[in-house]
Subunit: 223 residues, 2 copies
DNA sequence: ATCGTACGCAAACACTGTTCGCGAACACCG
DNA sequence: CGGTGTTCGCGAACAGTGTTTGCGTACGAT
């Protein structure tokens, strides 16, 4: 039994205690990566392009990060640091909604975040701070501990889903996805879909829907 | 206004009416891709490896598919064809749960599916069949049409989330993710997390939780 | 001043998705 | 039966990708 080979990045020391000191820091590199992703999308964050943005060589990044996935983890946790966590008010529904509201804002600020959140659920230092805060909000709630964890996951996932839809609706390149739906509607098969697309009121006051859907889903999870 | 350049793959003819006939079909290629992904993971589905599995050249695949993303869409819709859709029973809760149950089985059969589902929501021919079925199940439900669409999205996303957690729990390589959580717990900060990990009953009878959480979330979405 | 160590990084490796160009194969048509 | 028009199969090449290796360099401590 060899055990796990390398611990997660948060448990690895950032700088060696001896030898030539590093010229940069993980935080610095993470900030540059986030900014690059914000500006040109997640695919633009390649080791070479990121290194170029930092004015260094690609191989140098591997002194700070074992792999590109580590870099993504750092980026995720950095955004988790953007939460402003107030003291619990006593109204856990309102407090959870406040968290979700901030999550939505953060994800809208970083359009690459929703995909990463649902793809690789990562808990770094800031992520654990957030989880601690959520558990604090739910301290007096009678639900089991496991259910509170589920609520955390559901809150993140549903928020990511919502923001992804919001962003896709704004991006015209993804709108041709619905071309096939209209095609199906006019084809005559699938009468329910035809009726649905004919429905004149398909607007979305997404702000309110977000709050109500999430609240109900969370109360469901928490029993 | 140039409009969208290329329509979605479902609206492009599979074979040209004239010229040399193709030696393969989209279905054949899709089947090989799914089998390869089942066996060796989604990353193994590269154009070259897939072509090799089919006994052909990589460039040949581009006669059937404009891009690799098209291939992923085909794979997604192929799994949507694995549903067995019974006639609605009149109990919409039970019928939705049946759909979710099948979704979970399908995603467990194809471990690469959850990520794809939450990453690129795609509706192909089989996907629209499934949506039509869901709308049929909810035909007598008084909710707005938009809310039924939300229910569809939430059902898919939450199922994917659950299966992803199930698979991660079974895979020992992802278990070192929680090493940091234990580290935080023993560190003394974050007392709620410490208490949570000390809680002796953190098992998950995931089957039941899946049903109850999903039911409650869906009833929440549908109002 | 020397030593030990970690850092910065050019170059190389093994890939990836995608495009180009061309020969071969077929269906049709006169 | 012999063109002819069109598509198909695909080797080769292009522009990237993440990552490893090796080595000169810069620093802190002795």
């Amino acid at each position: 039994m060899a055990g796990q080979r390398e611990p997660v990045i948060w448990l690895r020391p950032e700088q060696a205690p001896v030898g030539r000191p590093a010229e940069r820091s993980r935080a610095e590199i993470t900030a540059a990566a986030v900014e690059l992703a914000d500006r040109e999308g997640l695919d633009a964050v390649s080791m070479r392009r990121l290194a170029a943005a930092l004015g260094t060589g690609a191989a140098s990044l591997y002194r700070y990060v074992a792999t590109r996935d580590d870099l993504l983890d750092l980026m995720i946790d950095r955004t988790a640091g953007e939460y402003r966590l107030p003291v619990p008010s006593g109204d856990w529904q309102a407090d959870l909604l406040e968290i979700a509201h901030q999550a939505r804002q953060i994800m809208r600020r970083h359009p690459w975040l929703p995909v990463l959140v649902v793809t690789r659920p990562t808990l770094g230092p800031h992520g654990t701070d957030l989880l601690e805060h959520l558990l604090d909000v739910l301290a007096d709630h009678p639900a089991e501990a496991a259910h509170k964890l589920e609520a955390f996951a559901v809150l993140n996932a549903l928020t990511a889903l919502f923001v992804q839809n919001e962003l896709a609706a704004a991006d015209p390149s993804a709108q041709r996805q619905s071309a096939f739906l209209s095609h199906v509607a006019t084809a005559g098969t699938h009468p329910r879909i035809s009726a649905l697309l004919a429905d004149p009121q398909l607007e979305r006051n997404s702000r309110d829907r977000f709050a109500t859907v999430l609240t109900r889903a969370l109360t469901g999870v928490l029993g």
